[in-house]
Amino acid sequence: MTGAPVRRDGPPLPSTLSALSRPGRRAYSLPELDVPDAPVPPEHARATPPALPEVGERDIVRHFTRLSQINYGIDTGFYPLGSCSMKYNPKMAEAVASYPGFARLHPHQPEDSVQGALELLYRLERALCEITGMARATLQPPAGASGELTGLLIMRAYHAKQGKPRSKIVIPDSAHGTNPASVTLAGYRVVQVPSDARGLVDLGQLAKIVDEDVAGLMLTNPNTLGLFEEEIVGIAEAMHRVGALLYYDGANLNAIIGRVRPGDMGFDIVHMNTHKTFATPHGGGGPGAGPVAVSAALEPFLPAPVVAFDPDAGRYSWDADRPDSIGRVHGFHGNFGILVRAFAYVFAHGRDGLKAVGERAVLNANYLAQAVAEAYPPAFEGRPMHEFVATASGLKKHGIRAMDVAKRLIDLGFHPSTVYFPLIVEEAMMIEPTETESRETLDAFAAAMLQAAREAVEDPDLLHDAPRSTPVGRLDEARAARELKLRW
């Protein structure tokens, strides 16, 4: 267990497709043109063809097969990225999403030809509303951040309709970067509320900040420290008292699913990340989906169209006639193929299964938190929910940073946790095991973390030089940003 893995000495990465290119080589095949040729008018024509690579199909296959093999995914191993809910992506969901009856639907098909798709969207919307305790939802937003902006635009439209436009949105200092970024895009100003010693929203500070110019508060609960905001009801009342709305960032919904509903906590708007809670794949960075559910009062402002159901006719349709709608937030109906997977996940689990998901996620986080606490104490005292933030600050005196631990974990066979987030925790390691990991995995990961802590004292170069088992070692990010090389 102690010998350090040594870096491969083969070529670190496959050649680029461009380097493989040979003039005249090709992979494509197309039928002969069977109508008269008709070139575009010369004034519109392209003079020089784009220098795409010229390669054979076998070149392509070996290239991308190799690229895939040097890419770590959940199917490769444990992936405890805090805030990302990197849970196992069921193969059955991939299978169903590829049915031609879903994958080969044109977005402009008439409603009568897509009744199955509309039913799926409608039933998914109903299920998500039940899960969140809200009245209606839009499935258009293609990711969480898009959901945030959608929610904030709904807030904006709501306050405008009330005749009282406002200018500020309150977010905690532990908030995810997309929250403040979305606030700006919605035309609001960010007001930050600090966390208190418990890692929760500082109620005293909040009281000082909140006034009638505050449009709303964005919160995750459990928050990004993995702690449940126990005074949420009080917070909600404080906001509602001044006419502000409560926005629920659903990144952490996995902790409470089936047990606590954002609507019951007083939230008015909720986004979900299907690629977290509902196990749709993260795709190397996307696609995901970020449905937004709202209370009855906000329903008129939802993006149009939404799916309507006529129980008498047994017919589904697109309801676009929504005068107060904020309008379209996606080019079509959102990431439908992802929503199919989310539907499969939700209905496969059902009421018991979803509740168990949350329970096991919280159990795993609690178990892992105590297992590593000796070397990586929790940043705050409270009971963790589905994730926890530990700190590697104890290793600083040995010259070891959280990033060094993370890189060493790679050599020990694991994807590291999120590091340096939330920003308010020094040397933060934000660890979210998710419910799909076994106790054996958690034990092995804890052992690796503790080993790294020991090595920090005994043999710190193992950490400084890590990773050494990967095709490339630590990369010079400063140089990347300075000497921009963004294409072949």
Binding site: L30, P31, V35, A51, A481
Partner: protein, 442 residues
């Protein structure tokens, strides 16, 4: 179904290890008044067998593009997706990974995105591409935000011949960001020359436009540049196999719906938002950008770069709020473009255009049907006017097994779009003409 691997023993022993007496105890600190005192009102879970049966039944209640001949367009097109694309992009190491925050473990996705960026630069004739946005409509929104940031201005001129979905999206997001698009008239089916004042941030032209027509893009972009506004082109990534690329036409920023690059129709998503720009705007780009660099030993590798633009670093000052994007679709596009190569792209574009021209001629000759913009050159899509109600014609044609559309209003009258990809053959086009003949006449 359940994917948590815990046995009953596991649960008990793990609870004991962290000093909790029961599962309920894990939640003991939650305020009781927010805890749901009942089960969710959802059905019980299903076995995989039962679930897939239900999904198959839902799928069967749709007519899909294997069950009709697809001449529909309006932003999503039935191009052929070769098997190699998803055999590769569907490798689970790609789709079960996330944003490459740990580049040493993610060189696969990073290199694929670097290659994607390179190919998008080639397609557009521009200097820098990001690693993906959500889709075409939101890519346009991001481009407009770039222009606003670059110019410090807020007026946006958008062609009337741009897809109404783009109009809608810009209006939605403009409400937050503080702009509202203003029309460039296009009474003849192409944008008219327009005065661009020096308070204009961006001139946006879709070329080919929503009617499929080719636009006088260079001229429009010249007027933009004369006013120091940004020229934004919405383009079709396959059209540039035969049409001059945005960079050559003078566009500063090019955006596109990338669905056509190896992505399935998927009832509108997941698709791919493409954005490319000139180097001058690189620090205003939204989203992930991959750069090449070297590791501690000097070997080259790839990282996410210019992160100081992004939300996780810059927070409320970020260029965009995008985090999760459409990486997997970009990987698919990379495979697809490698499959096509320059010759395939040119041939494919040639075939789309020739087949569309053939179809347009034949349809125009039918009684009750005529080209909406006779004599105006188009690429792979064109607009018809029908004597009969367009909606009825569309429905009757579908009943005969052919999907056309969408129907887009032009100057208050409906224009019925027909688009023709390389996938269609002469027999199918002739079949459509026959079907349309019946439908238009009845």
């Amino acid at each position: 179904m359940q994917f948590a691997p815990h046995t009953d023993d596991d649960v008990q022993e793990m609870l004991a290890a962290c000093g909790r007496s029961s599962i309920e105890d894990l939640y003991a600190h939650l305020p009781p008044d927010v805890v749901l005192g009942r089960d969710l009102d959802l059905a019980e879970g299903l076995s995989e067998l039962a679930l897939t049966r239900e999904m198959r039944e839902l799928a069967a209640r749709n007519r899909n593009a294997d069950g009709y001949v697809c001449f529909a367009g309006g932003g999503a097109y039935d191009h052929y997706v070769p098997a190699v694309v998803w055999a590769m992009a569907g490798r689970s190491e790609f789709y079960t990974s996330y944003t490459p925050y740990q580049p040493e473990l993610s060189q696969g996705v990073l290199q694929a995105l670097f290659e994607y960026q390179s190919m998008i630069c080639e397609l557009t004739g521009l200097e820098v591409s990001n690693a993906s946005l959500y889709d075409g409509a939101t890519a346009l929104v991001e481009a407009v935000h770039m222009a606003v940031a670059a110019t410090g201005r807020r007026r946006i001129l958008l062609s009337e011949a741009a897809d109404p979905r783009f109009w809608e999206a810009l209006r939605t997001y403009g409400r937050g960001a503080g702009y509202e698009p203003e029309p460039i008239p296009a009474a003849g089916g192409v944008s008219e020359a327009t005065e661009v004042r020096d308070d204009v941030a961006a001139v946006v032209v879709q070329h080919p436009n929503v009617f499929g027509n080719l636009e006088p893009a260079s001229a429009l972009f010249e007027s933009a540049h004369a006013a120091d506004a940004r020229a934004i082109q919405i383009f079709d990534p396959l059209s540039v196999g035969t049409l001059a690329p945005p960079g050559e036409l003078g566009a500063d920023i090019a955006v596109a719906e990338g669905q056509v690059l190896g992505n399935h129709l998927n009832y509108g998503g997941p698709y791919l938002g493409i954005v490319a720009a000139r180097m001058a705007d690189v620090r205003r780009m939204p989203g992930r950008i991959v750069g090449e660099t070297v590791d501690v030993d000097g070997r080259s590798g790839y990282v996410l770069t210019l992160q100081a633009r992004e939300q996780h670093i810059r927070r409320e000052k970020a260029t965009s709020n995008i985090c999760t994007n459409q990486t997997l679709m970009a990987v698919a596009a990379t495979v697809y473009l490698a499959w096509l190569g320059p010759a395939g792209l040119a041939e494919l574009a040639r075939q789309c255009h020739a087949k569309a021209a053939y179809a347009a001629d034949a349809l125009d000759a039918l009684p009750g049907v005529e080209l909406a913009f006779p004599g105006v050159p188009f690429f792979k899509e064109f607009a018809l006017r029908t004597t009969r109600e367009a909606l009825d014609v569309q429905r009757d044609v579908l009943d005969q097994g052919y999907l056309v559309g969408p129907i887009v209003p032009h100057e208050g009258r409906p224009a019925l779009l027909v688009s023709v990809t390389e996938r269609r053959n002469r027999d199918e086009i002739d079949g459509l003409v026959d079907a349309m003949k019946t439908a238009a006449a009845s």
